[in-house]
């Protein structure tokens, strides 16, 4: 073409004409949906405590229930709609973690149980696990050294 923009000029121009995400709306939705999921978790935790379970057992049972809910909503084709609405509000809680493992398992079932579900299940959760576990090991070593 005759008039050629530099890549830098073009990038600036594209930033200007591309619509931005609706941040305020998305943040509010994430806050309320994320909060709602936590309230549901808290409800189960209090209920289990009320049944006479100690804190540790009640916490574990609550996680199990929330993971079950996340996976069930994923299987029912509902969690993606929730995620589309709430963004980080439904990604950050443990239900979102369950969704990130269940959804590739469903997606890659067509490639078989070993290289499909088995290999791809942690496609999205994998990095979280790798760096989460690595970080906790490092923090653990620091904790050990400080107390040594």
């Amino acid at each position: 073409m005759q008039q050629v923009m530099t890549r830098e000029d073009y990038r600036k121009y594209v930033d200007k004409v591309s619509p931005n995400s609706k941040t305020v709306r998305n943040v509010l939705r994430a806050f309320f949906v994320g909060g709602l999921i936590c309230i549901i978790g808290q409800f189960f935790l209090n209920s289990f405590r009320g049944m006479g379970l100690d804190q540790e057992a009640a916490s574990s049972l609550t996680s199990i229930v929330m993971i079950f809910l996340g996976v069930t909503l994923t299987a029912l084709n509902l969690y993606d709609d929730l995620g589309k609405f709430a963004g980080a509000g439904s990604i950050v809680p443990i239900t979102g973690f369950a969704n990130s493992i269940a959804s590739p398992a469903i997606e890659y079932k067509s490639e078989g149980y070993v290289m499909g579900i088995g290999a791809r299940m942690f496609l999205i959760a994998g990095p979280v696990l790798v760096y989460g576990i690595s970080a906790s090991i490092i923090v653990g070593i620091i904790h050990y050294l400080i107390n040594f």
Binding site: M1, V14, V17, G87, E107
Partner: protein, 341 residues
């Protein structure tokens, strides 16, 4: 020699091939869009009775081949070549979709511009006297494309407003040496243009400079007046890319905003929650095969410049931080045989 070449990158066909038939099959969302009535078939189930989305996409390809040939009222063995492509790795939708057809085959990849690439090569084969009938096909499938390029479908995530929605559908055209048109009269083959955009959620912005480059070259090479065509229709620039294209062309002296359109904007309604518009090999192919050719045959349009656009990225190149190389091929389709001017 070289009498069919005009300017730097345009071919003026001496024996313009006639588009003797076209067929389109779309998925459920496209079947609820504004062009629903123009498609030959709408499939309600995205699996279409198959066990995987890839198999379903192959079925789209296979069925649209059958429909295209049937509508041309010729026997399948009268087809000399099939030229087809899609978005899946190694073009498996095309390879598997037409494996039982028993017709000589060229597999092509031009991302969402594939139908333009296929029609260009098909027209060259016919004009060169190497074929009488060539079928050009492309397909895309929202679910198989998401799986390959993005995230699993059931993952709860948000997409930015610049993202586009891959069309589920397949379109095919049959080019013949003889026929009553519309005719493919000129072809401007695109060059790869990369303006450094890396965001795969803003492909319209990545592809617009390629479309502008090809359209500019087309008018430069042919010397045609800028208002020669009734419509200049790009493939899948979407809302963002279309605006950028208009700006880029205007700043180069081509003010055709009133006749510019985009298949990605035509196939869906804004209310269908597709963000910036449709995309995919099936987008421009189904809009051409279903809507645009119908308008041409009925004389509502007489001359169009069809410019499908493609973003030539792969998931690997995106992860390695590469920018997105893009291409656009222009195919002029007219109701009269232009021939050599």
């Amino acid at each position: 020699m070289h009498i069919k070449k005009v300017g730097k990158q345009t071919s003026q066909l001496q024996n313009p091939p006639s588009i003797n038939a076209s067929a389109s099959i779309v998925g459920p969302k496209e079947g609820k869009g504004p062009l629903a009535d123009y498609f030959d078939q709408t499939v309600d189930d995205e699996f279409w009775g198959e066990k995987s989305w890839e198999k379903a996409e192959s079925k789209f390809m296979r069925e649209v081949l059958g429909k295209t040939v049937a509508k041309a009222s010729i026997a399948i063995n009268a087809v000399d070549f099939i030229i087809a492509g899609d978005l899946l790795n190694q073009c498996i939708a095309a390879n598997f979709g037409i494996r039982d057809s028993n017709i000589p085959f060229f597999g092509v990849f031009g991302a969402c511009s594939t139908i333009g690439e296929a029609m260009s090569l098909g027209a060259f084969l016919i004009d060169g006297g190497f074929a009488c009938n060539v079928v050009c096909l492309t397909s895309s499938h929202f679910c198989s494309a998401e799986k390959q390029f993005r995230f699993p479908l059931e993952l709860g995530s948000q997409r930015p407003p610049t993202a586009q929605w891959t069309v589920t559908g397949a379109g095919g055209v049959l080019l013949g040496a003889e026929g009553n048109g519309p005719y493919v009269t000129r072809i401007t083959t695109g060059k790869i243009v990369d303006m450094g955009i890396k965001d795969q959620n803003n492909m319209g912005a990545a592809m617009a400079p390629a479309a502008a480059d090809t359209i500019f070259a087309h008018f430069e090479d042919t010397g045609l007046p800028h208002d020669y065509y009734d419509m200049v229709v790009t493939g899948d620039l979407g809302m963002v890319g279309s605006r950028i294209l208009d700006d880029l062309l205007s700043s180069n002296g081509i003010r055709i905003g009133s006749i510019l359109n985009d298949c990605g904007l035509m196939i869906f309604d804004k209310k269908q929650d597709v963000h910036a518009g449709g995309s995919g090999c099936g987008c421009s192919a189904t809009v051409l095969a279903g809507f645009l050719l119908d308008r041409l045959r009925k004389g509502k349009l007489n001359r169009i410049l069809f410019v499908p656009t493609g973003a030539l990225l792969s998931p690997t190149s995106v992860q390695q931080g590469e920018s997105i190389p893009c291409i656009a091929h222009a195919v002029a389709i007219e109701n009269t045989r232009g021939g050599i001017q």
